[in-house]
Amino acid sequence: MERHDIKISRNPNLPKGYRATWGDRAKLCVAKLSLRIDSTTNSDKYSKLLLLKGATSKDDEFVEVHIWGPMTVLTMERVIVTAPQSSKRATIIKAIRAKLAKHKVQVN
């Protein structure tokens, strides 16, 4: 695949200034979005600033969050499930629902 310049890496080569830790997320958002925020911008406008849909997915503008490090079932508050077409995969979803319900995680 390298011969065809197809790179599948878990370490994308992002330019400086385009990535921050969770603790510094405010700095990243200021760097990216400060021109679109002024004293009249209310907090209910934030979600549209963070995700602006373009004509195609290629034109979408967004701030993306990646979760790193260990997660357990207790990390979740709510899980949204997209129903799979295969019945065997549906069994896996049933098992996940049963597990989540035991830990009082809401499933939609």
Binding site: I6, I8, R10, S87, K88, K94, A95, K99
Partner: protein, 210 residues
Amino acid sequence: MHAVISGRAGKALLLDGDSLKSFDADDPSKLVPRRQADLHYLFGESQDLRIIEDSDLESITREFKNDCDSNLALDLTLISLDGELPDDIRKEAIEGVDELLADHRVVEQLENILYARPVPEDADLSGALKLCDRAGSSRVLAVLKTFEEYQPLIREVCEAWDIIPVQIFGGYERQAEFQARCCSGRILPCRRRNTRNPSRDLDVSFRSWS
């Protein structure tokens, strides 16, 4: 045509000339055009990426289906062994695995993973065997019964594996990688049939790659 497939992610990526397209395990007929930037997200954290070079769509789809079925069989088997889950879900999982085990490659790949380590203490193997019996799932019953019989040998092989100094592999990561490749059967399967002495076949396998 070349491809990258992941049974765990349930995604296949096709590279044909300059064109990049992907398809999903649930709907192999629907080809989705892709860009290089999509690729990080297509496979997520899946560790089982497999590259197929100079092939055709039919062969790629066949290999992809086999990888997906093997992953599905493993997930459903783990559900069947989970004593915390209700019996109806475990029984449904067993029925699902039984269908998948009609393909001998799926049986082999499932066994390669199962035989890599002894069954954990909290797994309910005897409960799963009873449910197999109740569901009339003879293929799963046979696989799990044999798995149960082999537990002492699996433990013996794992103990021998664990005392190999990690430096021989060049670190813990390389050791894990080596073991994963052995289990996937791409170097050598963990479980090899010894027709002359079936009770020692795990032993034979271990000696051949240690």
